[in-house]
């Protein structure tokens, strides 16, 4: 890695709902710990600022990202990058024009089990993938007032897209509420048809708190990739040390949905998914290349989320237009 130190401006301390502040809970500590970054007090005009870490309110996020990019800064944007695909597309267009890095915080693709699996699929270990099944079920924590389709679904969607490299053409979705008294959806089922006829199915949601899972920890996080020549099972609740104790306890895994270990128990050793996200940010900025994931990836995910909402409301599948944005 280049030893260039990048100045980081922390912009905004908001999220989906009053309790979500990934800037303070995730990015600030990760930037502080990560070599090659230095948090600076400043503004968009400050030449010491190379990167803007954006956690402003989701409905202002696209505008903030566009302003930062147009000021010549690179951007790390909390997920979701924007609340609609149209807004995300505006950001992506500006990122493309300016040539600056715009990295959406889809950090679960950097999970050690998933990152290894991406390499295995790309290397043909299971032949041509034709189906992916995914479960991303978080237990406890504060339900997102925007619903878990808007909040958590970004993660497994990004992982499925990163594993397969195939864009989604058709979406059928079910949104239901089972645990959240507030009414926002807390279980989304996404039935996706991709290019080349690959199909994927994602369950993503937030159950009530469970004694054997840390608050806001992942009770189930897994992917199965079926290919023409084999099957790959990814259990992202591992690697883990399994504990049996006098009280309810569970795995000590590498990361929760926010990329950080939870509770009193120590996490798995090694970099968290957010640390690896910052590795990618630093590498893309110093190499002058687009990041992976890119703003365009966030646009496609936002298109899928939009289509899922339309499908759930109508009870019918929704086709995505190729190259519509």
């Amino acid at each position: 890695m280049s030893d260039t130190t990048l100045g980081v401006l922390l912009l905004g301390f908001a999220g989906l709902g009053p309790d979500q502040d990934h800037q303070r809970s995730m990015y600030e500590p990760a930037f502080e710990a990560h070599p090659g970054f230095e948090i600076v007090d400043g503004d968009l005009d400050d030449p010491a600022v190379d990167v803007v870490s954006i956690c402003v309110e989701p409905d202002r996020r696209a505008d903030a990202a566009i302003a930062a990019l147009q000021a010549g800064k690179h951007v790390l944007a909390d997920k979701p990058l924007a609340l609609t695909a149209a807004d995300a597309a505006k950001v992506a267009a500006v990122a493309a024009e300016t040539g600056k890095v715009c990295l959406p915080a889809h950090h679960q693709r950097f999970h050690p089990m998933i990152a290894a699996a991406r390499g295995a699929v790309a290397g043909g270990k299971v032949g041509l993938p034709w189906n992916v099944q995914a479960d991303f079920l978080v237990a406890g924590g504060t339900p997102s007032p925007a619903g878990e389709l808007a909040n958590f679904a970004v993660y497994p969607l990004d992982v499925v897209l990163a594993l397969t490299g195939l864009r989604v053409r058709r979406v059928y979705a079910r949104l239901t509420t089972h645990w959240n008294d507030g009414g926002a959806d807390d279980l989304a089922l996404l039935f996706l048809t991709h290019e080349n006829g690959l199909t994927s199915t994602i369950s993503v949601g937030r159950t009530r708190e469970l004694a054997d899972t840390r608050p806001a920890g992942l009770a189930v996080h897994r992917y199965r990739v079926s290919g023409s020549h084999g099957v790959l099972d990814i259990d992202a609740s591992r690697p883990a040390v399994v504990l049996r104790r006098g009280e309810a306890s569970s795995y000590t895994t590498s990361s929760g949905p926010d990329g950080r270990p939870r509770g009193r128990l120590p996490g798995w050793h090694g970099p968290s998914t957010v640390d690896r996200l910052l590795d990618e940010l630093h590498a893309a900025v110093t190499a002058g290349r687009p990041s992976s994931p890119s703003a365009a990836d966030a646009v496609h995910i936002a298109e899928i989320v939009d289509a899922a909402r339309t499908s759930a409301a109508s009870g019918q599948p929704v086709d995505l237009q190729e190259g519509s944005r």
Binding site: A139, H178, W179, A219
Partner: protein, 348 residues
């Protein structure tokens, strides 16, 4: 075994097996192990196959004429293991003869015919039960017991996958002909559709399914099925039935049930022992109760006391057919299909 004193204890129930294919062997073994029933004969349209099966079973009578077998006074019931398309006429013949019937799944391959069969047995006052054998396997009962005991609160989401590779013989196999089998949803999909519906204790309302001809593009059935079922109470199920996975030795059973109070899993890697050898990795199944024998007992219980609560009702059998039909229709259309449509507005 609790209720058999209701029937005539002086002799076990006489049962003929109709259709001497591979699944008949499992039913025959269950009959041999039962003290409450006995194999009274074999019926098959192929005389050679019928006589061979009868000889293998210790020299029981055989015939190619179903009416002849059903006319015997020592025959009380039939277990039918013929191709799916023949289920309706055979079932109606058994009902008309006043005998009981354990019908290999699916009950029939259309909803009207399933209803006609259920009605015929109602009218005759005899028992018909569709052999959804998975209901009688240890794993399915363990999951059901846990849910019934409140382990997860109210179940709201179930995932159930049975994945394997190609097992069928050549292109002439009737299961590969949708006209004879009803398609893979009717042939094997109904196992999962019935089981999750039993576990969730809810009425299905909508099916959205996707199918693939995975093993060969020329297949006329979908050897991989994914079936999403929506229930009246708001629950959802995602079922996968595959005979299209590779390697063909894949042997996968995976259950996940999320409820209002918890999450239950029967992990894919947890239900057998892993054997690693020079020729690869395989699964060693745990010893288990014989599901066919447990199922036979449930059937004999129903025969002995038709008024008692049944492990598998006629309505269950009709509903499974409706779910299978909805699956095939949904794949054909690429859209969700309501149970109301396939049930023609009449509840089972």
């Amino acid at each position: 075994m609790a209720r058999h004193s209701v029937i005539d204890d002086t002799r076990p129930l006489g049962v003929v097996i109709v259709g001497a294919g591979f699944i008949a062997d499992h039913h025959g073994a269950a009959l041999r192990a039962s003290a409450r029933a006995r194999l009274a004969g074999i019926v098959d349209v192929d005389a050679g196959r019928a006589s061979a099966a009868a000889t293998a079973a210790g020299g029981v009578p055989w015939t190619t004429d179903l009416a002849e077998a059903l006319g015997r006074a020592d025959v009380d019931a039939a277990i039918v293991c013929t191709p799916n398309v023949t289920h309706e006429p055979i079932a109606l013949q058994v009902a008309a003869a006043g005998k009981h019937l354990l019908m290999e799944k699916p009950l029939t391959i259309t909803v009207p015919s399933a209803r006609a069969v259920a009605d015929a047995f109602d009218a005759a006052g005899t028992v018909v039960m569709a052999a959804h054998t998975h209901r009688f396997y240890d794993y399915a009962r363990a999951v059901n017991d846990a849910i019934a005991g409140g382990a997860v609160g109210r179940p709201v989401f179930a995932r159930f996958a049975l994945l394997g590779g190609w097992i069928w013989p050549d292109w002439r196999a009737w299961v590969l002909d949708p006209a004879k089998s009803g398609g893979h949803a009717l042939h094997n999909g109904v196992h999962l559709l019935d089981l999750v519906t039993w576990w969730l204790r809810d009425e299905p309302t909508v099916v959205y399914a996707r199918g693939r001809a995975q093993t060969a593009a020329e297949l006329r059935i979908y050897d991989y099925l994914e079936m999403h079922v929506e229930y009246a109470g708001g629950a959802d199920a995602v079922c996968e039935m595959s005979r299209g996975h590779r390697p063909s030795t894949l042997d996968r059973r995976d259950v996940l049930v999320a409820g209002t109070d918890g999450v239950l899993q029967l992990p894919a890697e947890g239900w057998g022992s892993t054997v690693v050898t020079e020729s690869g990795t395989s699964l060693l199944h745990p010893q288990a109760a014989n599901g066919f024998a447990v199922q036979l007992d449930a059937f004999l219980d129903a025969v002995a006391d038709p008024a008692a609560e049944r492990a598998m009702t006629q309505a269950d059998g009709v509903r499974a057919v409706a779910l299978g039909v909805a699956t095939e229709l949904s794949i054909e259309r690429g859209e969700p299909v309501t149970l109301d449509e396939v049930m023609q507005g009449v509840l089972a």
